[in-house]
């Protein structure tokens, strides 16, 4: 492979060197420096943990449907054999803690950012690889280590982590969760943070430095914009989580007193609220970290499958940039009930509600992209539309929570759970799968079965809507989140039916995911239908300038980019090529342009 491409590479000596193609199996598939291989590694690692996180969610839902009853089938008998198949209170704590942490840090992050960030950034900007391929490899293996720490936490003495995904002290200190499992899972957060920072340094630098000639910032696909802004947020705010995790580990393992207060502290003690500050300084950017790539991907897909340029591309870009900036200054809205200065609270409320303005620009641009488009309801498009729908619901419920007076009532209820599941769980989940169905042919050189994909979509979007709407309702009725048995309280007893139905929908949602699992293994392990180089007929570089799947060096010749990513329906292109799309680096024949009328 190296010898075949040597002439092409030497023709451009100053443009982008590439590391030599790996020769051993070890370097090709395990410690690979190729961004496309690393992307697939992240994809596998993330999807496996997505399944694990989903399984934990099913156990939580079982507990809320049938508190204290035996978990049926294989699950109860095997996993819970110590307690006779019943979910005990400590196990329940571990379930919701691990579910949250796994889904956020070890499933959605690796799939959306790890896999698609790695795969898309170099291919869509016209680069041969990331700026720092070795760092990229190190990032994945550090991440794999953090996943091992999570798995180890399940097996630890005195049970796994049990302080919730937010790991608030004093519950997360030795006073609340003395087990090794909590220490391991906090260590896993720290290690995965290091992996994320490594990856993000790569993404930020790569987009700045390795764009192909002509690939200006305003010709980048929206997916790259989303991933790049996410990387910037990751670089700046994951280390703050790192500092919080570090202090928590010191408190747990070395006897320091940053967060321990009150009777448990020997001399004065620290301040549990300090942890909340550090956590949410990171935590609020984090919700945009998880959604920005999905916004970008969906922004592209809506244009691709409406066969229409993205409406007001610049507006979408600036809206995303504005949200990114604002996301850094609103974290206090998670802490309205910590007794903060009311004036400070109002400031945070104002900033929080201001975010809905750029978010609305974004949303209207999506809708206006669809307006009068020639919509093709392919599976990726279905997932993209589903993402728009659930994100709309999630965004609207965010207004309730951003408002102090309503938040005082809704704080820590299932309403919050429903809200953030609609936004950062469901929307980024559907965005991930939109991306997966769309770029799967480019990643694997095969095509997932589209009919199974449609079944997967409909069960997912209907299931998601019903499950999280059920949570919103329960929360609005006053059900606190994280209750082991909500119905032991008289004022919640009447919500048993609602919770039970929500659980049934959740089980159906999970069953629908099995369709994807089947589709995935059947296609990845089987032969699969080989798609063409550009099955969707779009103009971005990875479809128009690279092979399927791309060669080790991505592009034989680094393309010179001439236009933006969403050029559809140009009459001059239709005259010259007889199609409604044109590649970003594709030249129109001179006569094709000359024959065109002055005004389209």
């Amino acid at each position: 492979m190296t010898s075949a491409t040597a002439p092409a590479l030497s023709a451009q000596p100053d443009l982008q060197p590439i590391h030599p193609a790996p020769r051993s199996v070890w370097r090709r598939y395990v410690f690979s420096e190729d961004h496309k291989v690393i992307a697939r590694q992240f994809l596998w690692a993330g999807l496996i943990f997505l399944l694990l996180g989903g399984l934990l969610a099913m156990l939580i839902r079982w507990q809320w449907a049938y508190p204290g009853e035996k978990v049926p089938a294989l699950l109860g008998g095997f996993l819970l054999r110590g307690s006779g198949g019943v979910i005990g209170p400590a196990t329940y704590q571990t379930l919701f803690t691990s579910h949250g942490l796994i889904m956020i840090f070890f499933a959605i992050t690796p799939v959306l950012i790890g896999a698609f960030g790695n795969f898309l950034i170099p291919l869509q900007i016209g680069a041969r690889d990331m700026a720092f391929p070795k760092l990229n490899m190190l990032s994945f293996w550090t991440f794999a280590l953090s996943q091992l720490l999570v798995l180890a936490s399940f097996l630890a003495r005195l049970g796994g982590g049990g302080a919730g995904w937010t790991t608030y002290p004093p519950l997360s200190t030795n006073v609340g969760t003395p087990g090794t499992g909590q220490t391991l899972i906090v260590a896993a957060i720290f290690v995965t943070g290091v992996a994320t920072i490594m990856g993000s340094i790569n993404y930020v630098t790569t987009v700045i430095r390795l764009r192909a000639p002509g690939m200006t910032y305003l010709r980048l696909p929206l997916a790259v914009w989303g991933l790049w802004l996410t990387a910037i947020l990751n670089v700046l705010f994951v280390p703050v989580l790192g500092s919080a995790a570090l202090l928590l580990l010191l408190d747990r393992s070395f006897g320091t007193q940053f967060f321990i207060a009150g009777a448990a502290a020997v001399r004065g003690g620290g301040d549990p609220i300090l942890f909340q500050h550090l956590f949410w300084i990171f935590g609020h950017p984090e919700v945009y970290i998880l959604i920005l790539p999905a916004w970008g991907i969906v922004g592209d897909l809506l244009s691709f499958f409406a066969r229409k340029p993205a409406y007001w591309y610049r507006g979408t870009v600036w809206a995303m940039v504005t949200v990114t900036v604002l996301s850094a200054v609103v974290y206090g809205h998670h802490m309205y009930v910590t007794g903060m200065n009311p004036l400070l609270g109002k400031g945070f409320m104002l900033l929080t509600l201001i975010i809905s303005i750029p978010a609305m620009v974004l949303f209207l641009n999506w809708l206006l992209t669809l307006w009068q488009g020639s919509i093709r309801l392919t599976v990726p498009m279905l997932f993209a539309l589903g993402m728009v729908f659930v994100f709309g619901l999630g965004g609207l419920t965010g207004l309730f929570l951003g408002d102090i007076s309503l938040d005082l009532y809704l704080h820590d209820t299932m309403f919050v759970v429903g809200h953030f599941h609609f936004t950062m769980a469901a929307a980024s989940f559907l965005g991930s799968f939109a991306a997966l169905y769309f770029w799967f042919p480019k990643m694997f050189g095969k095509q997932l079965d589209q009919r199974l994909g449609q079944i997967h979509f409909w069960t997912s979007v209907v299931g998601i809507t019903l499950v999280f709407a059920g949570q919103l309702l329960a929360g609005y009725a006053g059900q606190q989140r994280r209750l082991y048995d909500p119905f032991q309280y008289a004022f919640l007893a009447h919500l048993r039916g609602l919770n039970r139905w929500t659980s049934y929908f959740a089980f159906a949602l999970f069953a629908g995911q099995m369709v994807f699992v089947y589709n995935w293994f059947r296609t990845v392990l089987g032969k699969g239908r080989a798609p063409g180089d550009n099955p969707w007929g779009v103009g971005t570089l990875e479809w128009t300038e690279a092979a399927t799947p791309p060669a080790h060096h991505n592009f034989d010749v680094i393309p010179t980019v001439l236009r933006g990513p969403h050029e559809f329906g140009d009459p001059a292109v239709a005259r010259a090529f007889g199609r409604d799309w044109i590649g970003q680096a594709e030249r129109l024949p001179p006569d094709g342009g000359a024959a065109a009328p002055a005004k389209g």
Binding site: G242, S243, R267, L562, P565
Partner: protein, 209 residues
Amino acid sequence: MAATSIFQGSGGAEARGARVVALPAMRPPFTAYLGMVVFLASWTMMFAGLLFGYGLVRSRAPVWPPLDQPPLPLLLPGLNTAVAAGSSAALLVALRSFRGGRARTGARALALAAALGAAFLALQARVWAALWADGLHLDTGPYASAFYALTGFHALHVLVGVASLAWLAARAARRAYGPDHHLPVRLWSMYWHFVGAVWLVIYLAVYVA
């Protein structure tokens, strides 16, 4: 190239008369430099988080330092600030020497920078030992926690820096760096100046203020 476009979408540039902007030829050293800048920005936030924690804990305490706990010394850490500054200065000289082709001076200056870094750690160890003997332990409250966590985490960074500078000095002694090849020295310099600057902030915020 006069392709007309009826869109207001992202392809406007071509419609307004194709302007192809060629990037300058890729310069790997600048890419590495930029990556280092991004990394240091990230690590600035890490230390900012720790210092925020320090500030919050301190602002909540009625008396600082607590009456029954030893106050922090000023002299030895002050001397250490000078040592850190000297080490950074030596590294500046080293980089300038490599650029100017004075490899021998560069190697010596690198060795001096590493030695001063080691001296910094030794002095810091003395400060810790003295305070420990005075009864300031990790588990004696948030005052001790904040002090040991900040200085300890910083000292880890110094340790990494000293090891790397020593390695660079050993390579420089074998004439590995010259006017057109000194990228590792440049990158580690950035790291080292950053660690020095963090020390200055810690000295002012924790020892002096």
